[in-house]
Amino acid sequence: MKPLNLVTLLVFLAATAWTLTRSETSVRQIQKGYYSFISPFVASGSAMETKIRAFDEEVEHSETLSKKLKIAETELVKLSTEIEHLKKLEKENVQLRAALDFKERTPFSVKAAKVIRRKPSNWWETAHIDRGSNHGISPMLAVIAAEGLVGKVDRPEDETSTVILLTDEACQVSARVVGTHEFGILSGQRAQNGDNPMLRLRYLSRDSNVKIGQKVITTGKGELFEKGIALGTIVDITRGALYTEAQVKPAVNFADLETVFVLIK
């Protein structure tokens, strides 16, 4: 081996060993530097993607659009009525809470964000949103959509953030089956990255009385997610020797994720 190659190999091995022994804090620092460098490129790429999408939408058949518009108008009237009704209920709820002297829930505000990039890697279910630490986003905050839980913030940059989706194996949520006292841990599954990903609800009691079609919501335990956020619906149940496990269809359509909301504590 040539001396130059040998020296380079030694330097390479030392640099690799240095990289492999970085702590999580230093990895985060490295990632922060990397993302602040590439964020202008990501933003321009996302703008281009948005333009292409907009063009694609314009090409859509006008008849389909007018049909959709009619449906939307009907829905709007329906929703306005519902909102009015909900406002009344909210008022009533506040009055009742005051009367019963209940402690108020931890106040949080919601920050709307747009999904600018979906699944940049092979095996990790992540998305990038256009809100970052400059907008008050911090790690571990829950990200929701109108239908339910989307995931949690993994890494906020200045202007953007990486969200680890509920469909990822590493995103675990303490969950409860509605109508029962069954608690479990819900997470994504490995290699379930198609159009219909299924979630896995583990550690339900062996003799649990959960049934197909029951809804699953967050418990509020574990310091990560607020209580009562919709997670999905049970579609299959497997009873094991120690625990019962259920397959859950997510409440959120992850294939069509555009606008999300970050719950800021």
Partner: protein, 176 residues
């Protein structure tokens, strides 16, 4: 299509390493692996450990450097043929190297997190991604040759070599 995609960074790396020596290959492997991990590494689970008793483990930051190094070694093994002008074989090896890279990455996840799980769709995803990457490699080689010519860099591909020798021969003939 089973979530298959073109892997631009591995493709660029694989096409570049076959045109350079061992030392530049090591440097490229380090840079590409580092960038890949900086882009994709996820943080820890977080939350109350009494509730989340079995968090999913993550692969260590920097593992991609090793995978890129192995891919680089595979590509460099075919460098003598590439230098003789058999670039087609290098293009095919690009696909195999990508396949190896994705497979290793997936197997690593299985090892780290336990519960070996290898559904058919993962196999399709891997080989389709490798095939897409392989199909695109001639384009990358073409760009590399154009760039080499532009910056007067010798890849030592016979096509360029011949022209160089032809030029030398003409010069010798003129002198004689």
């Amino acid at each position: 299509m089973y979530d298959a995609r073109l892997h631009i960074l591995p493709l660029t790396f694989l096409c570049c390493v076959v045109t350079v020596g061992f030392s530049p290959m090591l440097i490229l492997a380090f840079i590409c692996g580092f960038i890949w991990d900086a882009q994709n590494t996820l943080g820890s689970q977080g939350g109350d450990p009494t509730i989340y008793t079995a968090p999913a483990d993550q692969i260590r930051f920097g593992y991609s450097i090793i995978l890129y190094f192995v891919m680089g070694i595979i590509m460099q093994g075919f460098q003598p043929l590439f230098q003789k002008g058999v670039w087609q074989l290098s293009a095919i090896v690009t696909g195999f190297a990508t396949f190896f890279y994705l497979l290793s990455e997936y197997l690593l996840i299985n090892i780290v997190r336990g519960e070996f799980y290898f559904p058919t769709r993962v196999f399709y995803q891997i080989w389709l991604s490798a095939a897409i990457t392989m199909i695109c490699s001639p384009l990358l080689f073409f760009i590399l040759f154009k760039l080499a010519r532009l910056f007067d860099h010798t890849i030592r591909y016979d096509g360029l070599k011949k022209r160089y020798f032809r030029f030398q021969k003409t010069e010798e003939e003129t002198t004689a």
